[in-house]
């Protein structure tokens, strides 16, 4: 049943793309592990880490696209869901350090010892077990999305107002997580991770596995998103995006549709964040900053909103550019980023994928007129 549901949504193009994602997920880690460092086919560890990061970003972009591109909800707070997932993973990794921290406390993470905590805060309990942390990665962002969405959609907060509310939400979380008495590491966040599921985080094998898991998650998200937007639900969803009140007058309870994709999308973002944290080795409150969420929106806009492939392409292109420019011309990066926002909205509203579609359509038209 579920299998059929997942498979049905996929057209050939999407199947090929998912195949490509899986290929990107399998080949580089194998080359990293099997090839000797001198070989021209050797993929260095930093490259795995970099692309692994991009894969997580691509999942986040897909999550943003699901609500924005398909349902018209411009969320300016999706990085918050990403960060919450990341924090859940961070808490698990912190507990795995055990007595190997600087202060050698077997229960309390270093920052708590430093801040004179006497015992573990209640919400930290359970995070020493992966079986507890793993569902939390999905549950915490989902519950936040459910609460916010339930209130917002029920009272018909839409458009720009909704965007501002989501931004206020991530801003409030940013302020909250900066506080030391939040019990989550305050300003510095959490870092110096040692093990994940008993394997050292820094080891090549673990890195390769995490990289592969990121690609696998992206592929899975593409399948789920494809199935959702390809179903009758998806048709109703895009109809809500285009003419919400018309759908109400047709008898659709619009809130349910919005809430489902919003929560689904938050869960995806949470998982992406959880995979991101062990690969970059740190999670801190700056992940909540409103700029991060808007940047994720830009990836979607560049790639092409309302398409499934677009956000993935957008996330890779923008982030690759960012990595390159912040390294080579750090002054230029923010100008480039700012310019990209303006350029995409003015000249490329359908994104790169949309541009490709336009090109194909024009070609088809000229072919048709030629044959006619």
């Amino acid at each position: 049943m579920i299998q059929r549901f997942l498979w049905r949504g996929l057209d050939t193009k999407l199947r090929l793309f998912i195949g490509l994602v899986l290929l990107v997920g399998i080949v580089p880690p194998l080359l990293n592990l099997l090839m000797p460092p001198g070989s021209p086919f050797y993929v260095p560890a930093w490259m795995l880490q970099l692309v692994g990061k991009y894969l997580c970003y691509a999942s986040l972009a897909l999550a943003v696209d699901l609500v924005w591109g398909y349902c018209g909800i411009l969320s300016l707070g999706h990085a918050a869901f990403f960060a919450l997932g990341g924090y859940c993973m961070g808490m698990y990794l912190m507990r795995q350090i055990g007595s190997r921290g600087v202060y050698g406390n077997p229960v309390l993470p270093d920052f708590m010892v430093f801040l004179n905590y006497k015992e573990l805060p209640w919400f930290w309990h359970g995070f020493d077990h992966f079986w507890f942390a793993a569902p939390m990665i999905v549950i915490v962002p989902s519950v936040l999305a459910l609460a916010l969405g339930w209130f917002a959609f029920r009272s018909r907060v839409t458009g720009v107002y909704l965007s501002i509310i989501t931004q206020a939400m991530t801003f409030a979380l940013l302020l909250a997580f900066f506080r030391n008495d939040m019990g989550l590491g305050g300003n510095n966040g959490m870092t110096d991770f040692k093990d994940i599921l008993g394997f050292p985080v820094q080891a090549d094998g673990t890195r390769a596995t995490l990289y592969f898991a990121s690609a696998l998650a992206l592929a899975l998200f593409l399948m789920i998103a494809g199935a959702v937007v390809g179903s009758r639900f998806g048709k109703a969803l895009t109809a809500v995006r285009d003419a919400e009140s018309r759908m109400r007058f047709l008898g659709y309870r619009v809130e349910g549709y919005k809430l489902f994709v919003f929560v689904l999308s938050a869960a995806m973002a949470g998982i992406a964040g959880a995979l991101y944290v062990p690969q970059v080795g740190i999670i801190n409150p700056s992940e909540f900053s409103p700029g991060n969420s808007i940047e994720a929106v830009l990836w979607v806009a560049v790639g092409g909103r309302g398409t499934l492939i677009g956000p993935v392409i957008g996330a890779f292109i923008v982030n690759w550019t960012k990595t390159y420019l912040t390294g080579a011309l750090p002054e230029v990066w923010l100008f480039a980023l700012g310019g990209l926002f303006v350029a995409v909205t003015l000249f490329l509203p359908r994104g790169i994928v949309g541009l490709w579609g336009q090109y194909k359509a024009r070609q088809e038209r000229t072919k048709r007129t030629a044959t006619a």
Binding site: F151, S155, R156, V160, A168, L298, L334, G338
Partner: protein
């Protein structure tokens, strides 16, 4: 607390005080001479005696002693005050205050003091200045004695109180006397009870501290009871003042929010354009102020006091012009696409921040306050700084001007016409694109004005605007979009709520609570406090 020796000295001084100042003046030489002889114990007596003399020279001598700059010249045993001048010390005769040449350090013998003596000197200097000819000095001396509560200076205060002509300062002295009385073991009970009333009537935080100490430490049941009652009633009065102070802080924060939001109320509220670069318009206004001030410092230092006034029109023009530029080159292509406008203007805000960072550097720039904006005064127990007061006045002025502009000028009429019915306005010959550009320029220009004000209370850095953008949106949305009075009420309410939450929840948590409150509020009333109702809204 008092050992007999200084007490004896005090009594002797008291006697001499009564005998008259002239007698003491002749004695100054011997008083100073006493300072330089004997051990620390003798020195203590001498300090107290000198302090109680009320001599004008006593203060500088004691201060020099405390700072370790009082010397005895080995050659002639003259007591001098030394001041470093190159390798030598420039000397002043301690008693006459006349210059006494220079000398090398080793030709002098320092009069040594320890920390205990320094404390004594500090108290003593406080009482000395009671007789100063400058009323400001006398008043602050009285205040500092009130806080020090050292009964040793009681006599000096009594003396000063008797000599004082100014009613206000007299009261301060009486209060100081009362506080000392309460700290003394000797004072009679009736006087102490009276003193409790005097301290209670002063009615500030220090008074409460004194009363609380008396209430907990006093042995006498009556005094204890009186102090407890007085403290309780004072605590109540103070909590009212504290609330009033919070309201003032709230209004002050509200005026800042109003300034930041008012331009947004025009661009977002009446045009429906969501400008995420609004904060950067504020930031540009602040940097304009910085540039104006630097220029004035360099070329026309006489104008420094009015540099902020000069910056106002320039900031309006700079931010306004950039606003018009943005509207003409970007925003006009995005009308009817609010979410895209949001993204594009966010991009613009990043660009503007980076541009300013490139030109002025990433660090904070300092904009100095003119003298008429620094300092503070008390209204009852409310502390009001001039800077904040001017910002409140300025915010209200900008608000009133804007209302007049919208209601009474042709531009205001055109703006309202275009927002209400664009095709109709266009059909009647109004150049709607020009009105759009001017409206956007006006909103941006006002943001620039806000920047001038904010440069006085916030760090002028490229990130200045980022701190205000979310707050501004909250104010506009909370007050009701398209309603300027709603913005005023919204800003004030949020300011006051914020300041009332702060003491209980802390600044950060208070801000979070306000955000959560607004998020919930928008759920209940998506169109704000003063919503426009009706068909046209949709």
């Amino acid at each position: 607390m008092l050992n007999p020796r200084p007490l004896a000295a005090l009594v002797s001084v008291l006697v001499s005080l009564v005998l008259g100042t002239a007698a003491i003046a002749a004695d100054l030489g011997s008083l100073v001479a006493n300072l330089t002889t004997g051990g620390f114990g003798d020195r203590e007596t001498a300090i107290t005696a000198l302090a109680a003399s009320g001599e004008a020279r006593a203060a500088p001598i004691l201060e020099a002693l405390s700072a370790g700059r009082l010397y005895v010249r080995s050659a002639d045993k003259l007591v001098v005050i030394g001041k470093t001048a190159g390798n030598q010390l420039a000397l002043t005769d301690a008693i006459t205050g006349q210059p006494a040449g220079t000398a090398a350090e080793d030709a002098l013998e320092r009069v040594r003091v320890n920390n205990r003596l320094r404390g004594l000197i500090d108290d003593a200097v406080g009482s000395l200045t009671l007789m100063s000819p400058d009323p400001k000095v006398r008043r602050s001396a009285g205040d500092s004695l009130f806080k020090q509560r050292n009964p040793a200076a009681l006599a000096a205060v009594e003396h000063a109180l008797a000599a004082e002509k100014d009613a206000g300062i007299k009261r301060v002295f009486a209060e100081a006397r009362a506080s000392m009385m309460l700290a003394s073991d000797e004072a009679p009970k009736a006087q102490k009870l009276e003193a409790i009333q005097v301290v209670r009537d002063r009615g500030d935080r220090d008074s409460l501290g004194i009363l609380e100490t008396v209430a907990s430490a006093s042995q006498d049941a009556d005094i204890k009871a009186a102090a407890t009652t007085a403290a309780a009633s004072l605590r109540q009065t103070l909590s009212v003042w504290e609330a009033a102070q919070n309201v003032w802080y709230g209004i002050s924060l509200g005026s800042v929010l109003l300034l930041a939001a008012i331009g947004l109320a025009i661009t977002f509220g009446t045009m429906g354009v969501i400008n995420m670069a609004h904060g950067e318009m504020v930031m540009l206004g602040a940097y304009t102020t910085f540039v104006v001030q630097q220029t004035i410092r360099a070329y026309a230092p006489d104008l420094f006091e009015v540099s902020i006034v000069i910056a106002l029109p320039l900031a309006f023009l700079v931010s306004g012009a950039i606003g018009v530029l943005i509207e003409r080159t970007v925003i006009r292509f995005l009308y009817g696409r609010p979410l895209d406008t949001l993204l594009a203007t966010w991009g613009l805000s990043l660009g503007l921040q980076q541009a300013v960072r490139t030109i002025f550097g990433p660090t904070n720039r300092e904009v100095a306050a003119p003298s008429w904006m620094s300092g503070s005064f008390l209204v009852g127990q409310i502390d009001v700084t001039y800077g904040r007061l001017w910002i409140v006045v300025f915010a209200l002025l900008v608000f009133a001007t804007l209302i007049l502009l919208l209601r009474k000028t042709p531009l205001g009429l055109y703006m309202r016409a275009v927002t209400q019915n664009r095709p109709m306005a266009s059909a009647m010959g109004i150049r709607t694109p020009r009105v759009d550009a001017l409206t956007f320029g006006l909103g941006s220009g006002i943001a620039g004005l806000a920047g001038v004000a904010l440069s006085q209370i916030d760090n002028v850095s490229p990130n200045l605007g980022q701190g205000y953008i979310i707050d501004s949106f909250m104010v506009v949305v909370f007050g009701g979009v398209g309603n300027l009075f709603g913005t005023l009420v919204g800003a004030t309410t949020l300011g006051i709520v914020n300041k009332f939450l702060e003491p209980y929840a802390g600044a950060v948590l208070g801000k979070i609570l306000v955000l959560v409150f607004i998020i919930l509020f928008i759920q209940r009333r998506p169109r704000g406090l003063f919503a426009l109702k009706g068909r046209s809204v949709e």
